[in-house]
């Protein structure tokens, strides 16, 4: 398959215009870390943003960075860390900024830092009809027009190729500690109730991982509360979170999403290699195949008011969402000739 690697935004515009004229279909790609998300599709070429990788502007006092979408998350993180800040998404270092946003991949610390879409202040994209469009603005608050940044977050490249973004940053926590507790889901719920303001509480079948971050004295205060309430197996400072992700060793990983209080109702359908974010409602389930296990999980998630798209391996997204007509009209307006990843999105959009 052809790989197109534009080095300017103007080239992105030209490539999309050409593809549109020739009836070729393009798959926008960044660091290739989220390509399993979406329905399987065939395209004629991949349009890579990885050569659009400048840091456009970064003023630490504003806690905003403007970057080209092809910048790697690892490189951006290093730049921000030098000024004591972070873009709180915790993606793979190879992932591109645009890819993280287009795939809608939130951080495991979501309990504390929120959804990835809440960190995108401004977006510049090239639409399927080869227009450069900007939405949002470079301030932390903004209701100037419709919220295109949120529309693009999680759009899987089907409305436009994200070429530049302004990101809302936060101070990098002074200290970061993972406390591993004995127990499982019920103990995890207790940990959330007793340890004040954790960054994450992850339940695995045989343990609970609690992430604490902030000023050192606050982390010590939280650790003391954890010690009083549960049996601490180990504490790890500055380690990865989750400590281990055994669900990623399975051929299929689904990212189920249910109301936070319904996680324990979902877990019987989530197999034996899962990680559940307590207080959030995200459950990563490692499955052996995309057959019966996946449909069981999806069926149960739907009963609980949620979804279970696959994020690694085969299996696609799942049933179409409500208001499909509006979704189709958006696709038709932003990508009228269907150049950009047609069929990849929910409902076959």
């Amino acid at each position: 398959m052809d790989l197109i690697e534009p080095i300017t935004k103007a080239q992105v515009v030209a490539e999309i215009a050409d593809a549109s004229a020739d009836g070729r279909r393009l798959l926008p790609v960044g660091g290739r870390t989220h390509l399993d998300r979406g329905e399987p599709i065939e395209v004629d070429a991949e349009l890579s943003t990885t050569k659009l990788d400048r840091l456009v502007s970064y003023e630490p006092a504003e806690m905003i960075a403007v970057v080209d979408a092809g910048m790697r998350f690892g490189e951006l993180s290093e730049t921000l860390a030098r000024a004591g800040q972070e873009w709180a998404v915790d993606a793979s270092p190879q992932a591109t900024v645009g890819g993280v946003i287009a795939s809608g991949t939130s951080s495991p610390r979501r309990l504390r830092v929120g959804h990835v879409r809440d960190t995108v202040l401004e977006v510049q994209l090239v639409t399927g009809d080869a227009r450069i469009v900007r939405g949002g603005g470079r301030t932390v608050k903004n209701v100037t027009g419709y919220d295109l940044p949120r529309l693009l977050a999680g759009s899987l490249g089907t409305l436009g190729v994200i070429v530049q973004v302004a990101l809302k940053l936060r101070p990098r926590p002074a200290m970061r500690r993972t406390v591993v507790l004995d127990g499982s889901i019920d103990d995890a719920a207790r940990a959330l109730a007793t340890i004040p303001l954790p960054a994450a509480v992850l339940a695995r079948p045989d343990r609970v991982e609690v992430l604490l971050e902030g000023w050192p004295e606050a982390v010590e205060e939280q650790t003391a509360r954890a010690r009083a309430a549960a049996t601490i197996r180990e504490t790890i400072d500055d380690g990865p979170f989750p400590v281990k992700a055994p669900w990623n060793d399975r051929p299929v990983v689904a990212e189920a999403s249910v109301p936070a209080g319904r996680i324990s109702d979902l877990l019987p359908s989530a197999g034996d290699a899962y990680g559940a974010l307590i207080g959030v409602g995200t459950v990563w389930a490692g499955l052996r195949s995309a057959d019966g296990e996946l449909s069981d999980l999806r069926g149960r998630a739907a009963e609980l008011g949620g979804i279970a798209p696959v994020i690694r391996g085969p299996g696609g997204l799942g049933a179409p969402p409500p208001a499909m007509e509006i979704q189709r009209r958006l696709k038709a307006a932003f990508d009228p000739s269907g150049v950009l990843a047609p069929g990849r999105f929910w409902g076959g959009i």
Binding site: R138, L148, P171, W215, A218, S257, A260, G306, A323
Partner: protein, 488 residues
């Protein structure tokens, strides 16, 4: 028109009850404007009490060629709820029930007419809060908050309304109802929820709102810092952020508003200060202590005169009461006011404030500044008496200069009040024709016939798929370009 209205009135009376629809001239006049300077004209006003009744309102309006203008408490400041001719105003204030509070799911379902403060009060016994807290929270509704993506002092640390809305049951312009978003953390499809939040009622009516609720912080500290120059206060804000502290709130008040508020509330604000900062930090007790120390050190480096720490909850409430009553206090100075809402980069605060003082002085107008300094969200408030000939013209001229000043500093037109009628013709200052065409595509995807709150948000001429359309680049004065059927 008259016959159309009579027929619609008859059907509405059947659908929502004869007491809940009105063509009485006094009612129509009351609902012909919101809290902005803009007046319009309502054809009919309806007060639905259920989702089904909202659906009936939208369908009946469509059948009779009336547009629909959704309205909450009417506290909006940009004319977003001001009806422009032939409109049915759908008022949601009678839908004011909190339907469910589900701490385990960290969410609550409310009807759109629930007041922001009432929700906060209902959540407190559960140990939870709803983070967005506009200054009008005693009177503004959650539905209106959704419509304008409202903010408030505590958005600095906790984020705006959109971050706290999980799902919306929306009555769409065609009269169908869809749940956008989800009680779960992620939803399928494009983020239509995110589009409806902040759309100022142009994409549908939020008939049911599922909000995220957050645990109350275990500890809170509120500090009042006073300065002899605005520059020192602004530099303190930047220093706090640079030190890695994001306080829960950082509010600034300048000399004139501080004096007006002190007269009104007697909170013990220093009336001889050039500027005061109200800073709140929250979290674990030890982190509150650490952050308070940093805030105080930053203030001392920037020549703070006094640091007053609220000793108890009563004192804290009093300090906040001063801030939240600021707009009421303005009545002592002049009978009318026009409140701006632009956001600028935090580092440009001093420079933009100096410009605001210069502009208002040139136009001979009184200006008071009380605003969300941590977010760079300015609220210059022009106080005036519109009965004095020529005053309104001066206010509008100064307003346009302030908007341009903010945009030139890299800012945006509105942080939390919205575009409405007030700023739609300023949109080309910050967006290209292609940008606006894309926004028009969003609107037409929801509402192909522009039935919902027409003439708001986007300037005339912004059309989906019409990116080559030539439009004048010069921005007309707001007063000259208001749509027919509205005036100022």
């Amino acid at each position: 028109m008259a016959r159309r209205r009579t027929a619609a009135l008859r059907e509405l009376a059947r659908a929502v009850g004869p007491e809940e629809v009105s063509e009485d001239p006094l009612t129509l006049a009351l609902y012909s404007r919101d809290a902005s300077m803009f007046e319009g004209e309502a054809a009919l006003v309806a007060f639905p009490k259920t989702v089904e009744e909202i659906v009936a309102c939208v369908r009946i309006a469509r059948d009779h060629g009336l547009s629909v203008v959704p309205r909450g408490s009417g506290t909006g400041l940009a004319g977003g709820a001001t009806p422009v001719h032939d409109a049915l105003v759908v008022v949601t204030t009678k839908m004011n029930r909190i339907l469910e509070i589900r701490p385990a799911d960290r969410l609550a379902w409310v009807e759109p007419g629930v007041l922001n403060l009432d929700l906060g009060n209902a959540l407190r016994p559960y140990g939870f809060s709803y983070a967005p807290d506009p200054s009008s929270q005693q009177s503004c509704s959650i539905g209106g908050n959704v419509s304008t993506n409202a903010g408030g002092p505590h958005c600095l640390a906790y984020g705006i309304t959109s971050n706290h809305v999980l799902a919306l049951d929306v009555v769409l312009p065609d009269g169908s109802v869809a749940r956008l978003g989800s009680e779960a953390p992620d939803a399928a499809g494009y983020d239509l929820r995110g589009l409806v939040v902040g759309a100022e009622g142009t994409l549908g009516i939020a008939a049911g709102i599922c909000v995220r609720i957050s645990p109350l912080p275990p500890s809170v500290q509120t500090m009042l810092l006073d300065f002899t120059t605005v520059e020192d206060a602004a530099a303190t804000v930047s220093a706090i952020i640079a030190a890695g502290v994001v306080p829960a709130a950082v509010e600034m008040m300048d000399a004139l508003i501080t004096r007006a508020v002190e007269n009104f509330v007697h909170a013990g604000y220093p009336t001889d200060a050039a500027a005061i900062l109200l800073v709140e930090v929250d979290g674990l007790p030890s982190s509150v202590e650490a952050e308070s120390r940093i805030v105080e050190a930053c203030a001392r480096e920037n020549r703070v005169r006094t640091v007053r720490v609220a000793g108890d909850e009563a004192e804290r409430a009093l300090l906040w009461k001063g801030r939240k009553s600021a707009f009421g206090a303005v009545a002592q100075i002049a009978p009318h006011y026009h409140l701006h809402d632009c956001v600028v980069p935090r580092t440009k605060l001093t420079e933009v404030l100096a410009g605001v003082y210069r502009i208002t002085e040139n136009h001979g107008l009184a200006v008071l500044n009380v605003f969300h300094a941590g977010d760079g969200n300015l609220h210059p408030l022009l106080a005036f008496d519109r009965s004095v000939p020529g005053t309104l013209e001066r206010v509008l001229a100064a307003s346009e200069e302030i908007v341009r000043l903010c945009v030139d500093a890299g800012g945006v037109l509105s942080g939390e009040h919205g575009i409405g009628l007030e700023k739609r013709d300023f949109m080309p200052l910050v967006f290209t024709d292609d940008d606006l065409a894309a926004q028009a595509c969003v609107r037409s995807s929801f509402d192909p016939e522009t039935r919902m709150n027409p003439q708001k948000v986007l300037p005339d001429g912004a059309k989906c798929g019409d990116h080559a359309a030539a439009r004048g680049s010069d921005v007309q004065r707001v007063v000259e370009s208001l749509p027919e059927g509205s005036w100022i």
